[in-house]
């Protein structure tokens, strides 16, 4: 592979990661507030379909993306209502919505199957795109990719550097303590769940109007992305920057699988395609295993240097969820 195709490939990785970035950032801020939005897989499909359908009908990419965000917000509103107001299991409601939205996407998307529609074009940024290496890598992207860069920075700044972001951390960690500090906990949970849902809703159109333009129904290959994004959220330790890193890592591995396929002919293609999933389990294992009792016992039995190394490694991998994740808040 020559240098130029490598650059194009890597630039493609950045673009391919954009929808996943939107999804994991949306999920991250929703979970930061204490609400698990398990509907993500269905939401991505539904918004991909509806984003495409709206853009096709109105011939406007803008309306397509907006439709995606609105529908994402709407689905998450159901999650919020059921879990915050009705205090039902977030997992149950999210799972049902994940399946229902998916089927709804297939049902409503039937007339749009395979029709050619509008799609995002690359938008090189003047001057910046001429910089060697960095230019083709970062600045010859589609608008959605630029927005994904911006979203990472903004989400990180919001959570860790702003006053409301500090409160957001508090709401997910210990709602009662946030409440005595003046937060309207349940209202803010609604807000963040819906905003997070809108971000997740951006992921769908980013696929159907960009990365994998068009709507292909069950063979769109989008079914499953949402579940991956959920695990990336955990891998990301509820930190927007680490979550984004996870998304890039995933996109990179997928690309690597494609690139290596012709090289590693003895490995069946199905194995490479599915490689991210065992990897996902493995990363989750690394994130969680440090808390297991038998691990601490095994560590205790290791020689000093090995123990130090493994302890350090596991601690770096470890990510603890917001303490009140999935727990409804009630005054007194």
């Amino acid at each position: 592979m020559n240098y130029e195709t490598l650059l194009i490939g890597l630039a493609g990785v950045l673009a391919a990661a954009a929808p996943i970035i939107f999804a994991v950032l949306g999920e991250t801020i929703s979970e930061r507030a204490g609400v698990i939005n398990l509907s993500m897989n269905g939401t991505i499909l539904l918004t991909a379909m509806s984003g495409f359908a709206v853009a096709y009908t109105t011939d406007s990419l803008f309306w397509g993306f907006l439709a995606g965000m609105l529908i994402g917000a709407l689905v998450s509103l159901v999650v919020a209502f059921a879990s915050i107001t009705l205090k039902q299991s977030q997992v149950a409601i999210g799972f049902v919505l994940a399946l229902t939205s998916r089927d709804l996407a297939y049902f409503l998307g039937n007339p749009f199957m395979g029709v050619p529609g509008p799609r995002l074009q690359a938008m090189p940024i003047p001057f910046l795109s001429d910089i060697p290496i960095l230019g083709p890598l970062f600045f010859k992207q589609e608008a959605s990719t630029y927005i994904s860069f911006l979203a990472i920075v903004l989400a990180w700044l919001w959570v860790f550097r702003t006053r409301p972001g500090l409160m957001l951390q508090g709401i997910g960690e210990k709602p009662a303590a946030a409440y005595i500090r003046g937060a309207n906990v349940n209202f803010m949970r609604y807000v963040y769940t819906v905003v997070g849902g809108a971000l997740i809703g951006l992921a769908g159109p980013t696929y159907s109007l960009g990365v994998r333009a068009g709507w292909m129904g069950t063979i769109s290959g989008l079914d499953g992305i949402g579940w991956i994004a959920l695990s990336i959220t955990i891998f990301g330790g509820w930190n927007p920057a680490r979550a984004a890193f996870g998304a890039y890592l995933f996109a990179f591995l997928q690309w690597l699988g494609l690139v290596l396929q012709p090289v590693l002919t003895q490995v069946p293609s199905q194995v490479l395609q599915v490689a991210p999933f065992p990897l996902m389990i493995l990363t989750l294992l690394l994130v969680n295993i440090g808390d297991a009792e038998w691990v601490s016992r095994t560590l205790a039995a290791m020689p000093e240097s090995a123990r130090k190394f493994f302890t350090k490694f596991l601690r770096a991998m470890r990510a603890s969820p917001p303490a009140a994740l999935g727990v409804p808040f009630e005054r007194d």
Binding site: F107, I281, L284
Partner: protein, 345 residues
């Protein structure tokens, strides 16, 4: 009144009507007549004996999976990996059958061994999710999902690789097995009474385990409070694992029957989403085994009833999934509303 059984029933009826109304709106939105759609779904499912037999074909795996999930739900576990457990059951069965294709062993013995094989492989696959949960702290939802994708990939690999059809491999699956390896069917219908009996017996066993045995009581205790169950003397992680094994075994049987009673070969979509649908059924019946049979039958009827929609009305057959999902959604929501009213009153 709201607390009573009747009150609960009224709310479920409301949920059903709301769901029907909501789906009707969706149908109107795409320019289809809801009345025609429902009529087609009814005639498509119970319109003839042959069609009802199809419903039963779909009912068998759904009931088996639901029965298994009732056990994991009782243990407080969300066994989303059930989908993959069906797939692995089918793979296990296919493997066993392949060993005997050229042999002269009695087909009955072969089929029994094959179903047993599917059951064991399904249980082993379920134990992976269980062990990831117990020893690795990986939430069973994520472990299970990951394993589902791996299971699908494994199927594809087998169909296109080692088990590929003579000539050219294709999405149509492996080479069909000889007729002798099929569970006998009712004359003129696609349904095998044997499969039906297996599924019904399975749900009865599960009902009995959960309601009449100390084993079941312990599983329920683990599900309700794992710390206290441990202090009460129950070996908790073992019981979590047992529940995974039971569910995996039943899902494995479902996969085995898909091979021996429906497709007679391994196909890529062998699980047909019955695992996820089983989760919905279990949620809809609020984890009460007694309701598993009617609700699974109803969902199976929706599945079959929607098959002819694309031909007759140019509607996508995923309408059944929408209807099922919306129904569960509204039942969950109305249940939440009911609890809220009860608490206030």
């Amino acid at each position: 009144m709201l607390k009573s059984r009747l009150g609960g029933f009224v709310f479920q009826l409301i949920a059903f009507l709301l769901a029907l109304g909501f789906v009707s709106l969706i149908l109107l939105a795409v320019g289809a007549s809801p009345f025609d759609a429902y009529k087609n779904m009814i005639t498509g499912s119970v319109g003839s004996g042959r069609k009802f037999a199809e419903v039963l074909v779909s009912f068998v795996p759904l009931l088996l999976v639901t029965a298994g999930l009732l056990v994991t739900f009782s243990a407080g576990l969300w066994n989303i990996g059930v989908e993959g457990q069906i797939v692995l059951g089918a793979i296990g069965t296919t493997w066993v059958l392949r060993q005997f294709v050229e042999s002269s062993v009695s087909p009955w013995l072969v089929i029994s061994l094959a179903i047993l094989g599917g059951m064991i492989v399904g249980a082993i696959w379920a134990s992976f999710a269980g062990m990831l949960k117990t020893f690795g702290g990986v939430n069973e939802i994520f472990g299970g999902l990951g394993l589902n994708f791996v299971a699908t990939a494994l199927t594809l690999y087998l169909i296109f690789g080692p088990w590929k059809r003579d000539g050219v491999a294709s999405m149509s699956g492996t080479e069909p097995f000889p007729e002798a390896f099929a569970l006998p069917q009712l004359e003129g219908f696609r349904i095998s009474p044997w499969a039906l009996v297996i599924a019904l017996v399975a749900v009865m066993i599960v009902y009995f385990i959960l309601n009449g045995t100390y084993f079941g009581l312990k599983i329920i205790a683990v599900g309700k409070n794992i710390r206290a169950a441990y202090l009460l003397g129950i070996p908790t992680w073992q019981y979590s694992l047992y529940s995974f094994l039971i569910c995996g075994a039943l899902a494995g049987v479902a996969g085995a029957l898909q091979v021996t009673a429906v497709y007679y070969r391994l196909i890529p979509a062998i699980s047909s989403g019955y695992g996820y649908l089983g989760l919905m059924v279990a949620m809809l019946i609020n984890y009460q085994a007694i309701w598993a049979v009617p609700v699974a039958l109803f969902f199976a009827a929706l599945n079959i009833g929607s098959i002819q929609l694309p031909i007759v009305m140019k509607l996508d057959s995923s309408l059944s999934g929408v209807l099922q999902g919306i129904l569960v959604l509204f039942v969950l929501l109305t249940e939440g509303v009911r609890q809220k009213i009860v608490k206030k009153g």
